[in-house]
């Protein structure tokens, strides 16, 4: 529409001479630029916030990881990759990585199957189903700090609820020092994590189960499939997208675990329950070795990023089809 009057506005010897094709191309370019400008204008406030409060601090942490820096003033003591070499010789940090792996494996092998079993159970018709669902989901709503304080009291050696209860029912042998014993602290921690998070995964699975069409299980029933076969060959494959998301959330959660550990054990006894985030906090906010703490956070970020990318690329690929913006199908 602009092409009709644009040439007229131009003055000079070549006025009106350019071929119409080039003219149209130019106006299209102009329109596209205008669109782009409008879009940018609308995005700018969010973009500025995102850059200033998310992206820049992240980049700054990456920068600070190459300095010996106490957190005040600007970093000036450049030490190259020393923080990183120190990190991978640090027994505590290597222990963090190991404990992270242990938690991930335990979550995948015990916590999620348990949540799935509960979900299948509560998907049946039964009296008080809603009450059970609510009860199992309730711990997830509780804040991590409150959960930590609560279980710190429950698992207090001797005086705590756990030891008292076990004593009353004649199972003193099962009691112990829970969080206070280096050999049981991780198991206790995992128990609390499971108590807190299985309800969330159960809810995810329940939602997934609702979406499994009844006709399919009925058809399988008519074909003579037993309950296990129906679950294994009909329900489970259809639940796969939910499972994949739940695994993803669980792994990322284990990598970033902080609050629960900080409140219950602060990483102790003697670092036996320390996680990467706890180590980072210790160095950043207790020792004021912010450069070193930044290096830890960079490695944590790296691990999360690599896991997220690999997982999305190879596992979530089908689920995310169409949900994310890709370069394909972008038009010309």
């Amino acid at each position: 529409m602009t092409s009709t009057f644009l040439p007229d506005k131009r003055t000079g010897p070549d006025a009106g001479l350019p071929p119409p094709a080039a003219d149209r191309a130019r106006s299209r370019a102009r329109r596209r630029a205008l669109n782009w400008l409008t879009a940018t204008g609308f995005q700018l406030p969010a973009l500025v916030l995102f850059m200033g409060l998310v992206l820049l601090p992240m980049l700054f942490a990456l920068y600070a990881a190459f300095f010996r820096w106490g957190g005040f003033g600007m970093p000036s003591d450049y030490i190259g990759g020393e923080n990183f070499t120190r990190l991978f010789q640090d027994e505590v940090f290597l222990g963090d990585l190991w404990r992270c792996l242990v938690l991930v494996v335990l979550s995948l092998v015990l916590q999620l199957p348990f949540a799935l079993a509960m979900a299948v159970l509560l998907n049946q018709r039964m009296r008080g189903r809603a009450v059970y669902r609510m009860l199992f989901f309730a711990p997830y709503v509780l804040s991590e700090a409150i959960t930590g304080v609560l279980f710190g009291m429950i698992f207090a050696p001797d005086d705590g609820f756990a030891d008292q209860l076990l004593g009353r029912i004649g199972l003193e042998g099962l009691g112990g020092e829970w969080f206070a014993d280096p050999s049981t602290v991780m198991a206790t921690l995992f128990l609390v994590m499971t108590w807190k998070y299985f309800g969330f995964h159960m809810m995810l699975y329940l939602a997934g189960l609702q979406a499994v069409p009844k006709e399919l299980t009925e058809a399988a029933l008519i074909d003579g499939a037993g309950p296990w076969q129906r679950f294994r060959s009909v329900t489970l494959p259809l639940l796969a997208p939910t499972l994949r998301i739940s695994v993803f959330l669980s792994v990322i959660g284990a990598i970033q675990l902080f609050d629960l550990v900080w409140v219950t054990t602060a990483g102790g006894p003697d670092h036996h329950s320390e996680t990467m985030a706890v180590t980072m906090f210790q160095y950043g906010f207790k020792r004021y070795q912010v450069g070193y703490a930044s290096a830890i956070s960079v490695v944590m970020f790296g691990i999360s990023l690599v896991f997220a990318l690999v997982y999305q690329r190879f596992v979530l690929r089908r689920d995310l089809e169409g949900a994310t913006t890709t370069m394909r199908g972008d038009g010309k």
């Binding site: 050696p157 602290v185 670092h271």
Partner: protein
């Protein structure tokens, strides 16, 4: 638009930024102006955010204003940890408040070295020199005075007299061998000898620090920090002595996970009569009664025993208190206020109402509690002094001491390894 995840994150980020912004803004409030009509306003930064100290201090400021009509006192109060980080920021910006709270030691020394703190040596003569010598210690550098104390305290053993009697211990031990004997007696009488908050690490550090003072002498900890070398034989020996104690399994069940002031923690274990002793500062009786039942008349205090053959004496004290320093160039009114705050009348009031230990010798009469009196007796006899390590050392070194000693107590580090890790961290800093 319409991405709820993004906008939520943006909101969180924005609120975080708002928090930071407030800090930045309030951080600029370190100035004082000589107001109009000849009135001087002085800013007084302190950490007395809890009652009764909060209102007692405010009333004292009003009293000073009444006596000095041309001076206005503006009180700025911060909670302990917030104050520490605020002061670190202010120190690097080079602007300190007129009167500010200080624990002395390394942090104050840093501020002095940066030329930010007023030298009070001459302006506080003679009243400043008359204060309790051990209380003045943390604020003296090269015989110059950089701060005036209002409180002083020390770490020592708090014990249950009834449980000691039950175990057949007639008098508190004065030597390390005697102490280990007492621990053995308590154990055989089926009493848990010691309560320890293993989760918090710092209470365990007290044992190592005191043992190092007893084996290497009172000045050794500061010297080792300055030389960045903790590998000397007396430091390893200190660890070995602690190892001897740990070998007797003297601590309460689950001590590695215990906190200090919670209902199942160290103080409660002693306060409820479940453990016979704890190594803690002069605040211990209050926390014991708060977290547990409290021992009342059964509670006693004795200083950390001497180690046979060591360079240190039983009269050397590990402790610290609180004081005030002035920014360089602070008005004369600020010095006047320090004098007022360290006067006998003020100190009597502080001791009576806020439970601090007297820094003015004459104010001692105001102490009613026999346990606090016992601490005061020790403080008066002091022949050497080491300030709390978290004030004397850079944070990383202090934390490393806590961490390595905790590892020693948990059995994962040898005394030699403790000395080495502390040395390594000390060398990394600066």
């Amino acid at each position: 638009m319409g991405d709820p995840a993004l906008s939520r994150r943006g909101f969180l980020a924005a609120s975080a930024a708002a928090g930071l912004g407030t800090t930045a803004l309030t951080a600029c409030g370190g100035d004082s102006d000589g107001g109009s009509s000849g009135t001087t306003t002085i800013e007084w930064w302190n950490i007395s955010t809890t009652e009764p100290a909060k209102s007692v201090w405010a009333a004292l400021a009003r009293k000073f204003e009444a006596q000095n009509p041309k001076v206005k006192i503006k009180i700025v109060q911060q909670e302990n940890d917030a104050y520490k980080s605020k002061m670190t920021a202010l120190t690097s910006s080079g602007k300190l408040p007129d009167i500010f709270h200080t624990w002395g030691g390394g942090v104050l020394k840093q501020q002095v070295d940066a030329g930010l703190v007023e030298d009070l040596t001459d302006s506080t003569k003679p009243w400043g020199d008359a204060l309790l010598p051990v209380a003045r210690e943390p604020y003296l550098f090269d015989d110059k005075v950089y701060g005036i104390p209002f409180d002083i305290g020390m770490i020592g053993f708090w014990y249950n007299k009834a449980l000691f009697e039950k175990a057949g211990i007639s008098a508190p031990p004065t030597t390390w061998t005697g102490f280990l004997d007492a621990v053995r007696k308590l154990k055989s009488a089926d009493v848990t000898p010691l309560a320890l908050a293993g989760k918090e690490k710092w209470p365990g550090m007290y044992y190592w620090a005191y043992l190092a003072m007893r084996t290497a002498g009172a000045d050794a900890l500061q010297k080792a920090y300055d030389d960045k070398d903790f590998t000397g034989a007396p430091f390893v020996e200190a660890g070995e002595h602690l190892d001897e104690l740990v070998g007797l399994q003297p601590f309460q069940k689950g001590f590695l996970g215990a906190a200090y002031s919670t209902p199942t923690g160290q103080a409660a274990a002693v306060g409820n009569g479940k453990a016979a002793m704890e190594l803690m500062g002069q605040w211990a009786p209050v926390v014991q009664a708060d977290a547990g039942k409290g021992l009342g008349k059964d509670l006693g205090f004795f200083p950390f025993p001497a180690v046979e053959g060591g360079k240190g004496a039983i009269t050397e004290v590990f402790g610290g208190g609180g004081g005030h320093a002035l920014r360089r160039g602070a008005p004369q009114a600020a010095v006047d206020f320090l004098k007022f705050f360290a006067s006998e009348a003020t100190d009597l009031e502080l001791v009576k109402k806020t439970g601090v230990l007297p820094v003015v010798p004459a104010a001692e009469s105001a102490i009613a509690d026999p346990n606090i009196k016992a601490v005061q007796e020790q403080l008066k006899k002091t022949t050497g002094f080491q300030l709390y390590l978290d004030q004397a050392y850079a944070p990383a070194v202090g934390q490393e001491v806590n961490d390595s000693v905790a590892a020693l107590i948990a059995g994962s580090k040898s005394p030699g390894q403790v000395a080495q890790s502390i040395t390594r961290t000390a060398k990394e800093e600066q």
